[in-house]
């Protein structure tokens, strides 16, 4: 495969009215990396993720996925590009009119490659992958617990065999126990499927358990983009508060003790 980075942001500028959110964000994510995007609230983490998904368009700058520009070009090519990544939205964003099985099957049906019998097998496989029972397949999203919603959403994000997985606050709203289990699941899937993962989080536990690199967003740009150990050495008020606050220190100690 080509050595082009899976995600490449160059000089991204985002402006909402008079509010300048990003001013020259550069980021390159290599294949197989797990990059955690952290930053204070309002620093534009989720907005940056939405640029990468192609839901919003930066005011200036380029977004390239798999070496191809995401924002311009024929709609057909952009759609093909969008099918190469899966997204796990913060609230799961399951289609509430569909059952669990139909939610997972939906992207497969839409891509019109697999036939019905194959889709049934694939749905069973994806359910097993995210450690859900086949009996859960007929439930509606409204009948699921928060942790299960995330798992089904992950299975749906994996339905089209993506190379890149984008996670928006994967553990928000889960209790610590469930959250740890979900992080372990993401990690094992990432290793098995060789995924590149970008996650937005403000949970130090999740970050310490998953990320190979950490991108810190602040002052409208990337403050630091390095491994967790190197990030900890950066002297910046936000990084100090985020990682060396009481909660951060405890979480890091836990993660290091666990390894």
């Amino acid at each position: 495969m080509s050595a082009a980075p899976v995600i490449e942001l160059r000089d991204v500028v985002t402006r909402f009215g008079r509010n300048l959110v990003h001013d020259g964000v550069d980021l390159a994510v290599a294949a197989g990396e797990v990059v955690a995007l952290v930053g204070g609230s309002g620093s534009g983490k989720t907005t940056l993720l939405r640029h990468i998904i192609g839901l919003t368009r930066p005011s200036a700058g380029t977004v390239r996925l798999f070496g191809e520009p995401l924002l311009d070009g024929p709609a057909e090519r952009v759609r093909a590009l969008q099918r190469r990544f899966g997204v796990l939205f913060q609230q799961g964003a399951l289609f509430s009119a569909f059952s669990v099985a139909e939610n997972i099957a939906f992207p497969l049906r839409e891509s019109r490659v697999a036939n019905e019998a194959e889709i049934r097998d694939l749905v069973a496989l994806k359910l097993a992958m995210v450690e859900l029972e086949p009996a859960h397949a007929l439930l509606k999203p409204a009948e699921l617990s928060g942790g299960m919603v995330k798992r089904v959403a992950l299975a749906r994000a994996l339905a089209l065999e993506p190379e890149l997985l984008l996670l928006d606050e994967p553990t928000a709203g889960l209790d610590p126990d469930r959250s740890a289990a979900f992080v372990a699941l993401i990690r094992s899937l990432q290793r098995r499927l060789g995924l590149t993962v970008v996650l937005v989080t403000h949970d130090v536990d999740t970050l310490a358990a998953l990320a190979t690199r950490v991108a810190v967003l602040g002052e409208r740009r990337i403050l630091s983009y390095a491994t967790l150990d190197d990030t900890l050495k950066v002297d910046h008020p936000f990084i100090r508060r985020f990682f060396h606050g009481e909660h951060g220190r405890r979480a890091l100690a836990r993660a290091q003790g666990g390894d």
Partner: protein, 369 residues
């Protein structure tokens, strides 16, 4: 990305799978490959060791080609074997198929619908009772009247509805007058246009027209608003603060619409009569002065009172129905859409039913001759 490739030689019995067997790579040629795979006999010697990439879709394709069991002769890498083992395990535990729809289900569906109707009725009566209790409480404690909410709702359902009701009223007036004029002129009974328009619009068309518009415009908005507040737990938050949701959310809407509707009826009937007047002037050369002079003589004032009373009752019903359905919304999008639809449809149906009751009850009032 390598092309997926498959070849079977019947002389040696070797089936070779090469290249990238991934969803993306397979997509263009999946139909052909599926056919080729199906043509391979059961006892083939499968060689998967030259596979470059295999994902779960490619693995599913192969697993199904093997008749969902391991072939006797098979060469493949460890990674692929693990993936295929997962597929094998998953297909041993298939996803349950939703049961088919049978006659029993139809009967159950009917029974559920009847019970649901009963539940609706009980809920509706409960809401009505709660509102009456709230009113009693407000009469004893006048400081608790949600005046701000009532006035905000009056503005929203009354003032803001004026342009659209006027437009529709004017056009209906013009059309009604134009069509009636064509017939009346044939009999030389031109002057009766005043009777027809006056009686028809003031007594019947005005209130019903406004009700249909308001049910679609404000009724749906009320249901959706309450529904979204249910979804986002705002209604629960209100209850948790010890604030009555009926007093704060339902009562202002009901009072506002009950007050606003007669006014809207007056406004719309007026504009519709004006439209009819314009049309009569163009078509039949009836002057505005004559029309306005004749109207009170041929249409007894009781008709106006009936029209206004209908307006108030219809407004009350639309608001009650809208709030009833809004409070029943369950936290998902499907429920929101079905309840909003049900709210508008029920409100319009109820209005027309009650209009028929009105027509019978007032049959001897305000009809000349």
């Amino acid at each position: 990305m390598a092309q997926p490739d498959f070849g079977y030689r019947s002389e040696t019995g070797v089936a070779r799978v090469r290249g990238d067997w991934t969803l993306r790579a397979l997509a263009p040629t999946v139909g052909t490959l599926r056919r080729q795979l199906a043509g391979v006999p059961q006892d083939a010697d499968w060689r998967l060791d030259e596979l470059e990439r295999l994902d779960s879709f490619g693995a599913t394709l192969l697993w199904r080609a093997w008749g969902r069991r391991w072939p006797a002769r098979l060469q493949l890498g460890d990674e692929q074997r693990r993936l295929l083992e997962d597929i094998a395990a998953a297909s041993a535990q298939p996803v349950p198929v939703p049961p088919r729809f049978t006659a029993v289900d139809a009967l159950v569906l009917l029974g559920t619908a009847v019970l649901a109707f009963r539940a609706h009725l009980a809920d509706f009566i409960r809401l009505l009772g709660q509102l009456l209790l709230d009113l009693l409480r407000l009469l004893r404690q006048p400081r608790e009247w949600p005046l701000l909410e009532i006035s905000a709702n009056l503005h929203k359902v009354g003032v803001k509805a004026m342009p659209v009701t006027a437009l529709v009223g004017f056009l209906i007036g013009v059309v009604l007058s134009y069509l009636s004029a064509l017939q009346l002129r044939a009999f030389g009974a031109d002057i009766f246009i005043v009777n027809i328009l006056g009686l028809g619009i003031i007594r019947e068309l005005g209130p019903v027209l406004v009700s249909v518009l308001v049910a679609g415009r404000s009724g749906s908005a009320m249901t959706a608003q309450l529904g979204v507040m249910r979804v986002t737990e705002e209604v629960d938050a209100l209850s948790a603060m010890g604030i009555s949701r009926t007093i704060r959310l339902v009562l202002p809407k009901v009072i506002a619409l009950t007050l606003a509707m007669p006014l809207l009826v007056l406004w719309t009937s007026g504009v519709a009569l004006f439209g009819g007047m314009v049309s009569a002037w163009v078509q039949l050369d009836l002057s505005f002065g004559f029309f306005i002079d004749t109207l009170p003589r041929v249409v007894p004032i009781a008709n106006l009172y009936i029209g206004l009373a209908k307006g108030a009752v219809f407004g009350l019903l639309i608001a009650l129905v809208a709030c009833h359905f809004g409070l029943r919304v369950a936290p998902n999008t499907e429920s929101l859409s079905s309840n909003t639809t049900a709210s508008v449809v029920s409100a319009i149906t109820l209005v027309i039913l009650v209009d028929a009751v009105f027509a019978i009850a007032t049959r001897s009032i305000g009809v000349p001759g």
